[in-house]
């Protein structure tokens, strides 16, 4: 049974919790499903599953490498969804990938795969709102939320429209740049929460450039929570297994809980 993304995140937020979403590349290692389970055990509120694409335009080095490695090992969207079908976790799964994988196999068909994989929502960074209508018309009846991203460069009137149209939550891009770890939190990341929470009651999460527990706590202080991707994926590429990843995620959780 697929979990309703927005309802799930709203409930947890309204219960006073800062939200933590982590990103893992599907099919990266044989134990990638165990990585998901250890993240769940360490207190994430949703999992973003990166479905690898050959040309990840907005991704930095860590996710590029992970995508390439997963593809070399034969990862494909259909198999990733079949693998996820085996999984039973109490948090929603959100697929993050590029539009060509939808376009090529057909929107209806891919929506069917995602439903089989228990996917609650999608993030498609190269599908801006203007191009998204055909996909959203297919996804919505299937219970798949299409998350809109808002950038620091997005003008205010456009940000309002994106917040209104976003489903599941609003993805506030923390900085002008690609995904990847940064030495310090960008000034723009601190502004995401105040700016977007004034426009919407939907959960507002900050992603891109959140690298460690301190940065997570800082970015979450004025928003509803954070998305951490490259910091996890880089550790997996460096050989970290479920136990080490679980420990890192637990550290993020602790920081967000202010303990």
């Amino acid at each position: 049974m697929t979990i309703d993304l927005e309802q799930h995140l709203r409930q947890r937020r309204d219960g006073g919790r800062k939200l933590l979403v982590v990103y893992l590349t599907g099919g990266l290692n044989n134990d990638w499903l165990d990585l998901i389970l250890s993240c769940v055990d360490s207190g994430v509120d949703a999992i973003e599953i990166g479905v690898p694409f050959s040309d990840p335009m907005i991704d930095g080095v860590a996710i590029q490498k992970a995508s390439q490695r997963a593809l070399e090992q034969g990862a494909n969207p259909l198999q990733i969804m079949k693998d996820l079908h085996q999984l039973d976790v109490p948090v929603p799964l959100v697929a993050m990938t590029y539009f060509n994988l939808f376009h090529h196999s057909g929107l209806e068909r891919v929506a069917g795969w995602l439903v089989d994989g228990g996917i609650s929502g999608v993030i498609i960074p190269d599908l801006p709102l203007e191009e998204s209508t055909p996909w959203r018309d297919v996804a919505r009846p299937q219970g798949i939320a299409t998350v809109q991203l808002v950038a620091p460069s997005t003008p205010q009137d456009r940000a309002e429209v994106l917040c209104r149209e976003s489903e599941g939550f609003v993805y506030g891009i923390g900085l002008m740049g690609t995904t990847g770890e940064r030495a310090s939190l960008a000034d723009t990341a601190r502004l995401v929460g105040p700016r977007l929470k004034a426009l919407t009651t939907k959960p507002v999460l900050v992603g891109i450039g959140i690298s460690n527990p301190d940065q997570a706590a800082e970015a979450a202080s004025d928003s509803d929570g954070v998305i951490v991707g490259s910091a996890i994926v880089r550790r997996v590429l460096d050989g970290a297994g479920p136990r080490e990843i679980g420990a890192f995620v637990a550290g993020l959780r602790t920081a967000l809980d202010g303990r």
């Binding site: 196999s105 190269d126 997005t154």
Partner: protein, 391 residues
């Protein structure tokens, strides 16, 4: 209205084109569109652009009748000599336009991707001319096989960044340039080198290359009268072909684009979305982009400009392939019959002509072929491949 007028408000030519970019780049694309629309309709800007093309870049370029080649083939061949422009290829037409636009936008830097290095050299040149900072992304494989152009770019003051991701060629250089652009859109313009990418690039670059076709069409009219039977140009992303075709699309001429055998997006691909556009694309069963493989770094690209996909879907232009082997032969033949050493890219167009004269191209036809660039940059690669054949 001409088939090659302008795309619709979503940036589409028929079902192709569009603007598939991350939210962080939407505003920057809109800004380019607004400035281009405004200044392309501005008489003063058009004059400034034309003046630089003539006084600096060497326009108009001649339309040369290739007498010995014509005799050899039994068709009457005219070469549009983009190889004679400053920097040695048609790429200069586009970058002069975009560099001027960069100044109008109040930006201080320009970045570019390059395959063969011709667009990189042209961008570095325009940047030097106009006092802009310049950075060029180039696949590691291409850095290796186009070493001369790498040196030229550096000499011109540009920073050349080798790209080691993916196939390490043009496709990956585009990805890396887009990634870089996101973090510096306030001060930097991304100068895409072909009729590809998100709207308005396919349209804008074709407009800046339109001069090739307009000149050639007027020159043919003066030299021969009427319009040619066949117009041929090579196609990677497709900018010289788009510029050439725009001058003949409303005439009865048959338009032929020649793709490399190993990168034939139109002949062998299917519709896909990458690099901000929907167009014909080489891809696997799940939509992963496949790597193109060609002797020519400039055509080593798995996609193609959306307007070419549109012209192909209409049947207004036809797209054919040429293989590495016949391309090398074409280099030799044109060099020896006409004293013109072509770049490997237009040698694809020549190879098609050599193969099809008397077949797809009936004897006695008139042909205009765009010689998009000169062969100096390829001398080392070609020398290795032809070493045992030349004496």
């Amino acid at each position: 209205m001409s088939i090659m007028s302008h795309p619709d408000e979503t940036g589409r030519f028929g079902e192709f084109g569009g603007r598939f970019v991350p939210e962080s780049l939407v505003g920057a694309c809109i800004e380019v569109e607004q400035f281009f629309t405004k200044f392309w309709a501005d008489e003063e800007f058009r004059q400034e652009y034309a003046e630089i093309l003539s006084s600096y870049a060497g326009r108009p370029t001649p339309l040369t009748e290739a007498h010995r080649l014509s005799e050899h083939l039994g068709v009457r061949v005219f070469l549009k000599r983009e190889d004679l422009t400053h920097t040695g290829s048609h790429k200069i037409n586009n970058v002069i336009g975009q560099a001027l636009l960069t100044k109008k936008m109040g930006k201080s830097a320009i970045l570019a991707e390059t395959g063969a290095g011709q667009h990189g050299v042209a961008t570095a040149t325009a940047a030097a001319l106009m006092g802009l900072k310049c950075r060029v992304y180039m696949g590691e494989v291409d850095v290796e096989r186009q070493a001369l152009n790498v040196f030229r770019m550096r000499l011109l003051g540009a920073e050349v960044v080798p790209v080691s991701s993916g196939s390490k060629t043009l496709k990956d250089a585009v990805n890396e340039a887009m990634r870089a652009w996101v973090s510096e859109i306030d001060e930097t313009h991304y100068c895409i080198g072909s009729v590809m990418g998100p709207h308005p690039y396919p349209y804008m670059v074709r407009e800046f290359q339109r001069v090739v076709g307009e000149e050639a069409s007027a020159q043919f009219e003066r030299l021969v009268g009427g319009s040619p039977d066949v117009v041929i140009a090579c196609v990677g992303g497709g900018s010289n072909a788009a510029g050439t075709f725009s001058g003949f699309v409303d005439s009865p001429a048959r338009l032929v684009g020649v793709e490399p055998e190993g990168g034939a997006a139109i002949a062998k691909g299917s519709p896909g979305v990458v690099h901000g556009m929907r167009s014909q694309l080489l891809q696997d069963e799940f939509g992963q982009v496949e790597e193109a493989v060609s002797i020519s770094a400039g055509l080593d690209y798995p996609g193609v400009g959306p307007e070419h996909s549109y012209l192909a879907s209409l049947g207004r232009a036809e797209y054919r392939c040429a293989g590495d082997e016949e391309v090398l032969e074409a280099v030799t033949t044109l060099s020896r019959l006409e004293g013109i050493i072509p770049a490997l890219e237009p040698a694809h167009a020549v190879a098609y002509l050599l193969r099809e004269a008397g077949k797809e191209i009936p004897l006695g036809s008139t042909v205009v072929l765009t010689m998009s660039g000169r062969g100096d940059k390829d001398a080392e690669v070609v020398a290795k491949l032809l070493a045992d054949r030349l004496s």
